[in-house]
Amino acid sequence: MSQKPTFAAIAFGLAIGLTGAANAAWQPAKPIEFIATAGPGGGTDNFARAVQNIITKYKLVEQPIVVVNKAGGSGAEGYTYTKAMAGDPYKVVFGTSNAWNQPMVSKVAYNYTDLTPIAAMVHDEFLLWVKQDAPYQNVQDFLKAVAAKPPGDVKMGGAQSKDTDETLTRMIDKAAKVKFVYIPFKSGAEAAVQLAGGHIDAHVNNPSESIGQWKGSTQRPLCAFSPQRLPDGPKVTATQNWHDIPTCVESGLAIPQFQQPRTVWLPGKVTADQAAFYVDLMKKVQATPEWKEYIERTSQTDTFLTGDAFNKFIKEDIERTRKVAADEGWLISN
């Protein structure tokens, strides 16, 4: 009998404690796992590790953070794993637009709607590259030469199949009324070496994937798929920096913008508080000088999208990719 009040007291105390916790902003209470949907050394891995380093350096979170690579299935392994962790706010997954594009074109076991969007923290740029000693001085020369050959004779390399690189290749096909044959490799770095060896004729690598090759004069960019020229900066080669490369529109290839967002997600079914905590955390990361340094080093573009702006971006990107995918017959029947 005498125990009853004690139970009541505990129950009362718990109730107060719980309401109290719900009112205060959520804070992580155990180690956090960052899941990079790419192998060590790739763009997505560098992105996740850059965020981790900044958080650790400024002690933005009390808890330790570990980065794990789940690169299998072109990233599908990481997303599928995160989907299975629904409701767990200690798993943060880092990826690209493949979060929503991959489910459109291959039968993977997740969709981006299974995840909670946090932010798109940076945009990687795309450029059109040709071999250093190719006779083309600008995009027009190159496309004219492509058009003069039988369809499928000119080889465009890229990373993965039916992902951004191939989508962009098909957009170039359309815009310039040509037909490239697309050769998928495991990574952009591999495509860059194949171009240096003259086994393919062009590729659409990100700046960081080909900067070493450009410096070494094995290949050069013709134009950038961005609305304005890339920011001014130190010279990459003896005479040029990124800003010296014209935009594609400027040089007569009507693709005004094609960029690769680097995205951050939580699993599904987390609370609004938990999501808000990570949005806030990523904003703090973005405000540091180290983040600026990371963006400059990799020649990406600083654009922080979250909330409605991020959702709108996803919708538009899906629209655009779906069009290309439908034309090419890539869409899987759901």
């Binding site: 050394g41 599928t80 490799f185 495991k186």
Partner: protein
């Protein structure tokens, strides 16, 4: 010799007390992660990477690459003592290393392996020193058709090897190809052979397959046959280590040939795994003691180890000069290079002479440090073989389970590993060869990608494999290796003479 001058300068950079200390630390950590279950060189290097951010790039790469050398040597230890290869490239070492260790000669097996590995690594570094600029150019000549031809050559040199009936080899190979196809296909982007299990999209990991096929499979056989190791004298066998090393030049021809195969496969992008298998296959075919292979023949250890390390070392060069990582570990190190502010690529050799030659010099020193350290540990590791079977057996199960789980923290992998254990047992019982299966799992999907990329380039014509001198030579060489056993047998039949006795 401009390169030799640069190398001397590199030695000047690498030969400081601080750097030697880093090498010793790196090698010791490397041996540790190489021997411990489920860690492996890529993970070890990832763990160390954050510590290097404050260092000079030269010091950082010396620490990381020393760890890599240590892990390579450490990986051979588990292959030989427990039949559990830690890296794909040390699978071929188990074929003769493990039987020899079981036969009561673990010290000889380990010392042979380390000695030949050191020789291979040295051959690799010498090649890099003398032909740095030339080597970088060779790798550029390799497009998809050439890649395919190199893989074809590796398969061909191994398949024609004999030992088991060709049809059994073919079955084993086909199963390996099917396993390599699981997951997302690079060329079409579609999901294949996941059997409705969502997680299978990541594909079958090599580590999971090998832990089961070799570790668990062998254990089941051992239990059935009432396994016991022959009595090993309890004296610490320094003399045996010494005698083995002094006896190595006996295998001089095999060492040279294997190192040459290794260097060649390292520069052309075949890689260490293809190199070690190919070298083993060729050694078996050319050796007068052919019948003894698979039962603890020293040359069966010399060949794969020398080739593996020669390829692993010479493959570092294309990585630095082209920016393509040849292995998971190399990928992590490249990530490090970028963080230290260096861009791997053709300009690295021009802009960062100190870094590149410091690294190359440290490869000489790091390998010497690694060999001395591992040879010192041989008697300790060999003593592990004296532990009774009823203790070792559960430890092997634990090693395999932890190893499989830690690949991607997944219970599915543990289940798969057990399944592979049963498969390995059945293969052994029914006398199917395991090696073609493993080779197909490791390089099967790469060979497939290269073939289909070639077909895209040629619009479906096989003529692309005979379009250029390089690719044609490789393909013809492969075909010759494939048909050689048949030809030899025919010749043998025409000239009925007794073969050389083993």
């Amino acid at each position: 010799m401009e390169n030799l001058e640069a190398l001397m300068h590199g030695f000047g950079i690498a030969l400081s007390g601080n750097h030697i200390f880093l090498m010793v630390i790196g090698v010791l950590l490397g041996i540790l992660v190489g021997v411990l279950p489920g860690l492996g060189a890529p993970n070890g290097v990832s763990l160390l990477l954050p510590l290097t951010f404050g260092m000079q790039p030269v010091s950082a790469i010396i620490l990381l690459s020393s760890m890599y050398w240590g892990a390579l040597f450490g990986g051979s230890v588990t292959s030989i003592l427990f039949n559990i290869p830690g890296e794909p490239s040390s699978v071929a070492t188990t074929f003769d290393g493990y039987p020899m260790a079981r036969d009561g000669r673990p010290t000889t097996a380990l010392a042979t392996a380390f000695g030949s590995a050191a020789f291979g690594a040295l051959a690799g570094v010498v090649l890099i020193t003398l032909a740095a600029s030339w080597v970088a150019q060779v790798a550029l000549a390799f497009g998809p058709p050439e890649y395919f031809a190199v893989y074809f050559l590796a398969f061909a040199s191994f398949i024609g090897m004999g030992g088991s009936p060709p049809i059994k080899t073919l079955v084993s190979l086909a199963i390996g190809f099917a396993l390599a196809a699981v997951g997302i296909d690079t060329v079409s982007g579609s999901v294949r052979l996941t059997m409705g299990i969502d997680e299978m999209v990541k594909g079958v990991s090599f580590v999971v397959a090998v832990m089961g096929l070799f570790g668990i499979g062998e254990l089941m056989i051992a239990v059935e046959e009432e396994f016991h190791v022959k009595a090993i004298s309890s004296r610490v066998e320094w003399r045996e280590v010494f005698r083995t090393l002094v006896g190595l030049p006996k295998h001089g021809w095999a060492l040279l040939r294997s190192a040459a195969i290794g260097c060649w496969m390292g520069i052309t992008p075949g890689g260490p795994t293809a190199a070690s298998f190919m070298s083993y296959g060729i050694a078996k075919r050319l050796s007068p003691r052919r019948a003894n292979f698979g039962k603890g023949e020293p040359e069966g250890i010399v060949a794969p180890e020398a080739a593996d390390h020669a390829a692993g070392t010479s493959a570092l060069l294309p990585m630095l000069s082209l920016g393509i990582p040849g292995s998971a570990t190399a990928a992590v190190m490249m990530g490090g290079l970028m963080i230290w502010g260096l861009n791997p690529g053709p300009m690295l050799f021009v802009e960062q002479k100190d870094f590149v030659w410091g690294l190359i010099a440290s490869m000489y020193l790091g390998n010497v440090v690694a060999v001395v350290l591992v040879l010192l540990t041989v008697p300790i590791f060999a003593a592990l073989m004296r532990v009774p079977f009823f203790i070792i057996a559960p430890v092997i199960v634990i090693i395999c389970t932890v190893g499989a789980y830690s690949v991607s923290n997944s219970y599915l992998d543990v289940m798969l590993m057990m399944g592979f254990g049963v498969l390995g047992y059945l293969f052994k019982k029914l006398h199917y060869p395991l090696a073609p299966l493993v080779l197909a799992i490791v390089i099967g999907d790469k060979a497939e990608d290269a073939f289909r990329q070639s077909m895209l380039m040629s619009k479906g014509s096989l003529g692309i494999f005979f379009a250029k001198p390089l690719v044609t030579t490789l393909i013809l060489l492969g075909a010759a290796l494939l048909l050689m056993p048949t030809i030899w047998r025919t010749i043998g039949r025409m000239m009925p003479r007794s073969e050389v006795k083993p």
